[in-house]
């Protein structure tokens, strides 16, 4: 079970969180063509290594935030509140 560092609540067990997927995916403009929406809804990269992803602390502060996680090892390299950069020196 991963230990996830919530930017607001500190390190907590994975069971308190919900996974939100790749944080680098951006919602297309509302008038974007259909293929762009298909991409957005269905297609995800499966990178090997550090991935910027979203997590939701449902059993805590109820905030979404960023986690930099190594997909090969589950190592959590850093976390950051929405709109904040990952803390320097933490990956």
């Amino acid at each position: 079970m991963m230990l996830i560092p919530c930017p607001w609540c500190g390190p907590r067990d994975q069971i308190e969180f919900t996974y939100g997927g790749d944080a680098t995916v951006r919602r297309p403009a509302s008038d974007a063509p259909e293929p762009e929406w298909v991409d957005y809804v269905y297609l995800r990269d499966n990178p090997c290594g550090p991935l910027d992803e979203l997590w939701y602390h449902g059993a805590g502060c109820r905030s979404w935030f960023h986690v930099l996680r190594d997909t090969r090892t589950h190592e959590v390299l850093a976390s950051a509140a929405i709109g904040e950069p990952f803390a320097p020196g933490e990956g």
């Binding site: 991963m2 560092p5 259909e34 929406w37 809804v41 850093a78 933490e90």
Partner: protein, 1005 residues
């Protein structure tokens, strides 16, 4: 009841405390401190079970967790536990155990036939039965017998009466294994002021170290252990867990461990599951001895040499009268002396190594004991029926050297480090040719190894490594970042192995099997009856990868997971392929290290404690008034309120009829309630709902539908505008949490520019819906605002006060309808819910108001064709399918809209919502499918399926909602609702999905 093989003194057993127990129907006696195995051996009992496949007689092979043979059915009735290792089961008064896998008895077992038939039961024979004989019919028949013949113990049929507990813990350093290395590590870590947890699977500290008498720094082992454990017990931040097995290593240094407490049926909890989050782990898990494969090396009386010594020293038990020791390393010489000291006649030491290696060991003690040593020699075969009686000793070339009568063969093939947790910590293993074993190399996790897990070693080396490992673990723990839960150093490996000085580490000349004649059974894996020949067969049939070898031969499977056999199996495959062992590699070590009682994993979280229960503020009133409850997610909701003598169905029909005729009240507190505030709420609602919201006036509410990103309908509910910038959204009960999560995500990530704040207020408000033609009369008597159709029209919202006997309750009144009748919702602060409920009921008494439950509510909504999550909104339907396409506003964007135009979602053949009516009065079967001709030959073309169905007391017939292909074009068509499972069918007429008041006049009146 004599313990014929018990020594008069020595060991940890308390001879003043005899303990009576029963095995295989016979009563025996042992002593406090015994294990079941040591007590059986003290009584001369070696034969304790039959083997898995060939039903061969098997004895006690080891003295610990690695035991492959001595698995017993422990206890009776609800407390029985299968596959329990006799070697780790503490003896207690009244213990009852039975042998497994034999019938009618362990001495006379019918299944023994399998051994005679063994030539046709090679490795993989079970898989081969899939292909031959070819008929599946036959396979179904004999597969049953294979399963019954091969087997272990049986699980209890009754619920487990024991209690299990969970404990979470955090520490700087977790020490796994409290042998000499572990105790040294724990002591060093504790001295530094770190918080330390030590877990140790045996009941005592450093038992193996304590068995010996070799002083370390002129301190006797017993004294050293006593000093260390006393110091640890006195340290403030040290938790010592005996009888606790660390079984799994998980992400971010989370270690799962099972603490076993007294298994007497009275102690509670019986076991405790520890989940320990450690900043760093010192793994001092030791090493396990392994055997050597020779012909009939499974006969009872065959035992690991180190284990035979343990029985002598630790339990004061002679494991036999005359022993032959067979070894490829030095450790067995000490074991031979221990047997000799215990009064066993050691007939010979058979050492597979050359004379030079052997000469080194012909020391004074051996000569004094007069133990002959055969160098360059092998035990080629053992003979005997239910016990070893004789062994043949030969040269490597097979030339006969001696034939020796004996009742014990003490065998040592070297030691395999217990690397399981290290491997689970993603540690890489390295094959160490000096100890002929896989040892820890490097792990990316904060884990450091010490002692015999790095390769069998002396106590001196173990203690030094323990202290060094503690220093390294402390450094790792200290470098951990507070937030990251990670350390800055990476890939810290095991400490450098001590220089090989002959004593520090045990040198082993690998010997996995002897060149026994074909046809002889030389077992590699005793628990799964895997022979040397099976490994060779796997190779010749192409199953050469180590994972294939395991699956094909079952080597390393079962409850022991190959603790004494894996490395030998790898060695044999390497020999067959003529490659080094590290080329073959190991199978993956997965948790758990030893079997974990299933009851310990859920702990107290079973039955009513699996999930929390949510109750509305009116719950106690419902219970006091005869409500039958139904689960709605975590909520308990009243299903109906049956009166004395009334069935639940009759009650629901009465309640539903009363709503249409008079008035009813239903608890709707469970609906998700989300308050939205801010300047941009209208824009936000425009984006999440398919319909338009920017024209909603203060004091009005509106029905809305949400889509998923892919265009499928997700949820529905109402949103009310309470004030200029203040809205209240309701969601379905089931989706309340998920919608809140989505809203948080949209607002914080997708649209942070919107000025909207969301707060879940589901728990803060109690809510009741008052429905029926007389609901206005009822409400007029309890609220302090004008509820006339002009003053408070359909879809109006207003703050008000509910009058109670003494004073008023602040409330919100909504005019909305789910039942299709004139209806209102009253929301009050949750703690006033029951007062409000009772006030409405009192006011409604003259009008015939009755409470109604979810069943009547469902009937009412089916009559009106209102869709619900899980039935019509089933994750596949679009707004068009559900007849709600007019709600989709063409002039704005919303979530899900961009993908709505995809061809599959706009196909005219899609299943569309319709109503069905069984005019015959017959019942619509449960889970019915819609077909044109129920008697057509299978496969019958399916036109759709029923989504909701009920008896409608207001229509006077069974009605249903259904999704039917091109359903909207087919109103008036007669089709069949069939359930082949229930063998029921009924003819139904397709119609519009509304059975009552199609024009909707009642709810607006």
């Amino acid at each position: 009841m004599t313990q014929r093989f018990r020594l008069p003194s020595g060991g940890i057993v308390d001879r003043t405390q005899p303990i009576a127990f029963e095995f295989d129907g016979t009563r025996y006696e042992g002593y406090a401190g015994d294990t079941l195995a040591s007590a059986l051996l003290a009584n001369g009992v070696h034969l304790v079970g039959r083997s898995f496949k060939y039903h061969r007689p098997r004895g006690i092979f080891s003295a610990g967790t690695e035991e492959p043979n001595a698995l017993v059915q422990l206890g009776v009735g609800a407390n029985t536990e299968p596959n329990t290792r006799a070697t780790t089961t503490p003896l207690r008064d009244g213990l009852v155990a039975a042998p497994q896998n034999c019938w009618p008895s362990v001495r006379f077992d019918v299944g023994r036939m399998a051994d005679v038939l063994s030539p046709i039961l090679p490795a993989g024979f079970y898989y081969k039965t899939f292909k031959w004989p070819a008929s599946p019919k036959w396979w179904m028949r004999y597969e049953h017998f294979i399963r019954r013949a091969a087997g272990m113990g049986h699980a209890a049929r009754e619920p487990d009466p024991a209690r299990y507990d969970h404990q979470y813990a955090h520490c700087d350093v977790l020490v796994v294994g409290a042998g000499a290395a572990g105790l040294a590590a724990a002591r060093r870590a504790a001295e530094s002021g770190a918080s330390v947890i030590v877990c140790q699977q045996s009941p005592r500290w450093a038992m193996q170290f304590g068995d010996g008498n070799a002083a370390v720094d002129a301190v006797a082992p017993a004294r050293w252990i006593d000093d260390a454990s006393t110091a640890l017990a006195a340290s403030p931040d040290v938790t010592l867990l005996a009888n606790t097995t660390a079984f799994g290593y998980y992400d971010a240094n989370l270690v799962g461990a099972i603490e076993r407490r007294a298994d007497d049926g009275a102690s509670s909890p019986r076991q405790r599951l520890w989940m320990i989050r450690a900043k760093a782990v010192v793994l001092a898990s030791g090493a396990l001895e392994r055997g050597i494969a020779y012909a009939n090396n499974d006969l009872p009386g065959t035992m690991l040499a180190g284990s035979a010594a343990i029985y002598a020293r630790r339990y004061g038990v002679r494991v036999g009268t005359r022993a032959v020791v067979f070894t490829n390393n030095d450790s067995a010489y000490a074991a031979a002396l221990a047997l000799h000291d215990a009064g066993v006649d050691v007939a010979a030491i058979v050492d597979a190594r050359d004379e030079g290696a052997v000469a080194r060991r012909t020391d004074e003690r051996l000569r004094a004991a007069n133990i002959p040593v055969h160098g360059n020699a092998l035990v080629m075969a053992a003979h005997g029926n239910d016990r070893v009686s004789r062994v043949d000793v030969t040269s490597h070339a097979g030339q006969r050297i001696a034939s020796i009568d004996c009742d014990v063969v003490a065998v040592s093939g070297g030691y395999s480090p217990t690397v399981h947790l290290f491997s689970q910590a993603r540690g890489r293993l390295r094959y160490d040719t000096r100890t002929a074993s896989f040892v820890p190399d490097r792990s990316p996790m904060a884990i450091v190894t010490a002692g015999a897990v790095n390769g069998y070693c002396s106590a001196r080396t173990a203690i030094d490594e323990g202290a060094a490992a503690a220093d390294e673990a402390l450094a790792l723990a200290g470098s951990e970042t507070v937030h990251g839960g990670r350390r800055s150093a990476r890939d810290v490996g095991a400490p450098q192995a001590a220089p090989f000085d002959g004593e520090a580490r045990l040198r082993v000349e690998p010997l996995w099997s002897v060149p026994a004649p074909r046809g002889a059974k030389c077992f590699v894996d005793l628990q799964n009856d895997v022979t040397v020949r099976d490994v060779e067969l796997a190779r010749s049939e192409g199953y050469q990868a180590v994972e294939h070898l395991k699956r094909y031969t079952t080597l390393g499977m079962g409850t022991d997971q190959g603790k004494t056999s894996n490395v030998a199996g790898i060695g044999l495959m390497a020999r067959a392929l003529d490659v080094p062992l590290d080329v073959v590699g190991t199978t993956t070590f997965r948790p758990p290290y030893t079997p974990v009682t299933l009851g310990a994993l859920p702990g107290i979280h079973h039955g009513a404690h699996v999930e929390p229960v949510r109750r509305s503020a009116m719950h106690d009133w419902h219970a006091a008034h005869g409500a039958r409850f139904v689960d709605a997610g975590l909520w308990k909701r009243p299903h109906s309120y049956p009166r004395p003598g009334e069935s639940e169905d009759d009650a629901a029909n009465r309640e539903a009829r009363n709503v249409r005729e008079n008035a009813g009240i239903v608890d709707v507190s469970t609906l998700g309630k989300i308050e939205l505030q801010g300047r941009d709420v209208a824009e936000f609602l425009n984006r999440v709902y398919i319909n338009r919201w920017d024209n909603l006036q203060v004091g009005r509410c509106r029905y809305g539908v949400m889509l998923r990103e892919d265009g499928i309908v997700r949820d529905d509910g109402t949103t009310s505008r309470l004030d200029t910038t203040h809205y209240l959204m309701t969601t379905t009960t089931a989706n309340a949490g998920a919608i809140m999560q989505t809203i948080e995500r949209l607002l914080s990530i997708d649209w942070p520019d919107l000025d909207v704040y969301a707060t879940s207020v589901t728990e803060q408000w109690a809510a009741a819906a008052v429905s029926g033609p007389k609901s206005r009369d009822v409400l007029a008597r309890v609220v302090d605002i004008d509820v006339s159709n002009e003053g408070f029209p359909f879809l109006a919202v207003a703050p008000c006060n509910v009058r109670i006997a003494q004073g008023t309750i602040p409330a919100r009144l909504f005019r909305m309808s789910y039942s299709g009748e004139l209806a209102y919702e009253v929301h009050v602060p949750a703690d006033r819910g029951r007062e409000m409920w009772e006030a409405v009921l009192a006011a409604g008494e003259p009008f015939g108001i009755m409470p109604y439950g979810t069943e009547a509510m469902s009937t009412l909504r089916i009559e009106k064709g209102h869709v619900v999550i899980g039935s019509e909104i089933d994750g596949r339907t679009t707004a068009f399918d559900l007849g709600m396409e007019k709600l989709v506003n063409p002039n704005k964007w919303c979530i899900g809209k961009p993908l709505l135009a995809r061809p599959a979602l706009t196909s005219p053949d899609r299943w569309q919502l319709v109503g069905l009516c069984a005019e015959s009065g017959e019942r619509v079967p449960r889970g019915a499918k819609i077909v044109a001709d129920p008697d057509a030959p299978a496969p019958v073309p399916m036109h759709g399926h029923v989504t909701s169905w009920c008896y409608s007391p207001n229509v006077g017939a069974w009605i249903a909602l259904a999704l039917v292909s091109r359903g909207r074009e087919r109103h008036g068509e007669k089709v069949w609702a069939v359930s082949p499972l229930a063998n029921e069918k009924v003819q139904v007429t397709i119609q519009a999905p509304v059975f009552i008041d199609p024009a909707g006049e009642r709810l607006r009146g």
